[in-house]
Structure formats: C-alpha cells, structure tokens
C-alpha cells in the first residue's frame, strides 16, 4: 500500500508489486536427520495469492507451518509484515494473531457454538468487547453463508460448513496473511466447491494468501503464482498457466504427468 499504482487500484487481487508480506530466506527445516526444507527463499507480496503444489512429502505443509511457527525452522529467517519470527511465547502470540490459519481437519472447537468459535480469539487475543466480536463474527458468518448457524455446534455442521466457519474464525482476526493447509482435502467432493468459493471471494477482496492444495482448478483460477515444491526445494514457480501447462523443469513435468494420469 506504500506506493499505490494504477494497476493495483484496478486489480486489487494484487501481484508481485505490493510490499512483501511474507519473506522467507534460506529456510532449512530438518526432522531429525531428514531435511524437509532445503534452503527455501520465498516472498509473498501484499494481496498476492500463492498456491503451493507438489507431490506428497515435498514439504508444502511444513513450509506453511513454519510461517506461523507451528514448526520451528532449523535455520533461516522468516518475516511477516515486517516483523521477524522468533520463538518467544510473546512474539509468537503477537505474530500469530496477524496470521490466519485454516487446517485440513477444520479444527473448530467442538465445545463452543459457531459464534463462540469465531469470537473467542477476538476477545481473548485482540481484547475486543463481546458486542464488537459478535458483530464482526456475524458479519463474517454472513459472508461465508452461515449466518443462520451461529448457535449451532460444529458437530452438527457438514465438513464444508465447518471449514467455512474455520475461515471466518481466522478472518475475524483481521490477519495480514492467511495460510491454508490443504483446506479441501478432508471434504467430500461435492462440498469442495463451497469452500473454494469462499476462498476465491477472499482472494478477490485482496487478502494475501498462501494455499497448499491439490485443487488445480483453484490454483488455475485464483492464484497469482503457483509454486511447485519437490524434494524440499522450489522446483518451479510462475503464473498458473506457465507452471501448470508448460513446466520448464523436469520435476515439474513429472509432477504434471502424474496429475494427468491420476
């Protein structure tokens, strides 16, 4: 937002011109002796939607979980919205409040109503009043099409509905960036669309997003940039058409072939 240009104004979906929201430098992550991420450099800019694809075990989810400190990196630096990630309890909490995360398994709090799910962190972390939190919560539940489910418990919702509540819960914190860790992988096929619609709407509103997904349709339609991870490194990145249709790297071609065969 520091240097608004005409192009940005006309295209709020963003691109690689905005200021960097997430900066990862030389990220190495080891589990024991296994190197999962091997020197990743990655910038995600304000308003940009980046999808991370690649074979399982490539380190996509691990990379995402490193951004908000759910996984500790072995070496390297991560900055989110200008603040460097460190692992002290205080700084983690402050940073995490600015990073929304959506999980494959939804992870809604089962003992709370939908409304309590979307208000609890607003109140506990941001210190919003009950009325403030509820009004923001209601607005977002409305936006994901679940305004009428505010008093329901998660167990009484479909998977697609639960995931939409989880998105509302994260967005309610007014995060600088949203992380999606395979948000549709646990869903029945017929429920995938409703979640992707909400994500696409969020992308259109200019949210900065990092999305680990196997949904190539989403990558194609909503992403500004597709990053192919393989063997702990970035094998290929670029606009969706380029990476998904005419990958330059051998690993890119191999992955695509697998996708088309599967």
């Amino acid at each position: 937002m520091s240097e608004p240009t005409n192009e940005q104004a006309a295209q709020p979906a963003g691109g690689q011109d905005g200021r960097p929201m997430v900066q990862m430098r030389d990220i190495i992550k080891k589990f024991g002796t296994t190197t999962v991420l091997d020197g990743i450099d990655l910038d995600v800019h304000e308003g940009e939607v980046v999808t991370l694809i690649g074979p399982s075990g490539a380190g996509k989810s691990t990379l995402l979980r490193c951004v908000n400190g759910l996984e500790r990196i072995t070496s390297g630096t991560i900055e989110v919205d200008g603040e460097q990630l460190s692992y002290s309890e205080k700084s983690l909490n402050r940073l995490r409040a600015r990073i929304g995360m959506v999980f494959q398994a939804f992870n809604l709090f089962p003992h709370m109503t939908v409304m309590d799910n979307v208000t609890v962190a607003q109140r506990e972390v941001l210190g919003r009043s009950r009325e403030e939190a509820r009004s923001r919560g209601a607005e977002l539940l409305e936006r994901v099409g679940l305004g009428h489910k505010a008093d329901a418990y998660p167990d009484n919702l479909s998977g697609g509905q639960q995931q939409r509540v989880a998105i509302a819960r994260a967005v309610a914190m007014d995060p600088a960036v949203m992380l999606f860790d395979e948000p549709t992988s646990a869903l029945d096929p017929e429920l995938v669309g409703e979640v992707l619609d909400v994500m696409r709407q969020l992308a259109d509103d200019g949210m900065t997003m990092m999305v680990v997904t196997h949904e190539m349709r989403f990558a194609r339609k909503a992403a500004d940039r597709v990053i192919l991870l393989a063997d702990g490194g970035i094998a290929e990145q670029g606009p969706p058409e380029q990476v998904l249709d005419s990958p330059a790297s051998e690993r890119g071609q191999a992955f695509l072939q697998q996708l088309n065969e599967g």
């Binding site: 909490n93 402050r94 999980f103 992870n107 506990e124 972390v125 329901a152």
Partner: protein
C-alpha cells in the same frame, strides 16, 4: 422383616447423621484431591524431567500400597507432628490417595484433546494459558467426567476405611450398631443401603452434569 424395619427406623437418626460425616469427609478429600490431582497431572506432563519423576514416583507409591496403610501412615505420621483430628487426618489420607488417581484421569483427558485443536487455538494467537483455559481444560473435563464420576464413587466407598482411625462415619456407625444389637448382618445391610443411596445420588448428579456439558454432541434443537 418387621424386625428389620423397626431396627432401621430406630437407627435412622444415627445413620443420617453419619451419612453427613461420610459426605463431608469425602467432599473435603475430593476437593483437595482435585487440586492435588491437577498439580500432579501438570507435573507428569511437565517439560522438567525431575517433576515428571516425582509425579511418577508418587503415583507409583499410591497405587502400590493399600489405602488402609496409607491412612494409618498419614494418621500416625501426622499426629506425631501436628495436632490433627481424625476427620482431617482421614480427609488428608483420602486426598493423598485420590490425587494420584485423579492425576492420571486428568492426564489422559488432556492427552485425548486433539493436537489440532491446540494448534488452532495457538494459531489464533492465544497464549498457552488461554489455550489451556478455553480449549484444553474444558475439553479434557468433558472427556474425563464419566471416569471422574467413577472415582468419586470409589472415594465415597473407600471413606469407610477411615473408621479404623476412629472416625464415626457411616461404616463405624454400622459396627456400633452390630455391637449393640448383636445383629451384625442387619447392621451391615442397613449401612449398605445408605451407601447405595449416596452412590446412586452421586451417579445421577454426574449423569446430569455430563448431559449438560455435552450439548455439542446432540443434534441441534432447531
């Protein structure tokens, strides 16, 4: 039968009075044991190794020795150091005993909280303490409630052993009755009825709580 009912009625005031003693004794013990159990559970899940060892040792000792010996050791041990009446000595002994079992119940409850829920709370920026308070503890309580209720019931019945350090609670009252009526069978059937009523009431209370706390598992009313 007529005779039994007469005796039952005759001794009812004594047994009702003794029931209160048993209830107060168990309640005092359980309140302390809940606090103690929470502390021991926290120790057993601590990142500090000596604390974990201490918890393991404590639980091992409690589980590895009969309650009646624990009661005697605490009673004779504590009475040597501080002035303590039989009620509080008994309550302390029962608390000491139940803390270990309740600690294990709490620990299993916490470990049953899905890791993803803790991660979700932490990802929202909630601190360890807030995550514990708003997510882990309420969920752990819900899963442990049935087991906890079971432990409460055991505690009520175990409190009968405190009669051996001179507490006139329910069981001691039945022993007195047996001694004065020369009808031990009657006396012990009477006391069994009192214990049964207390345990049934407690069971109902726990079920009611369980029902109240499981609103999220029932289909929506709407």
């Amino acid at each position: 039968m007529q005779h039994f009912l007469e005796l039952f009625a005759e001794y009812a005031p004594l047994f009702v009075e003794a029931s209160w003693v048993t209830l107060r004794l168990t309640a005092a013990a359980l309140v302390m044991a809940m606090v103690g159990g929470a502390v021991v559970a926290a120790m057993s899940m601590s990142r500090v190794r000596p604390l974990r060892w201490l918890a393991t040792a404590y639980i091992g000792v409690v589980r590895g020795t009969p309650l009646i010996t624990q009661i005697f050791i605490i009673y004779f041990g504590l009475v040597a150091i501080i002035t303590l009446d039989a009620f509080w000595a008994g309550a302390l002994a029962l608390a000491f005993h139940n803390s270990a079992y309740i600690a294990e119940i709490f620990r299993s409850g916490f470990q049953a909280v899905p890791k993803g829920l803790t991660e979700a709370a932490r990802s929202l920026g909630m601190s360890r303490t807030k995550t514990l308070k708003r997510v882990q503890a309420p969920l752990a309580l819900r899963t442990t409630l049935p087991v906890l209720g079971n432990q409460y019931i055991i505690a009520v019945k175990d409190s009968s052993l405190v009669s051996f350090i001179g507490m006139t609670e329910l069981f001691q009252t039945s022993r007195n009755m047996a001694a004065s009526t020369y009808e031990p069978l009657t006396a012990y059937i009477v006391v069994a009825i009192y214990y049964l009523v207390i345990v049934l009431a407690l069971t109902a209370l726990v079920s009611w709580l369980e029902h109240r706390l499981s609103a999220h598992r029932r289909p929506a009313a709407a």
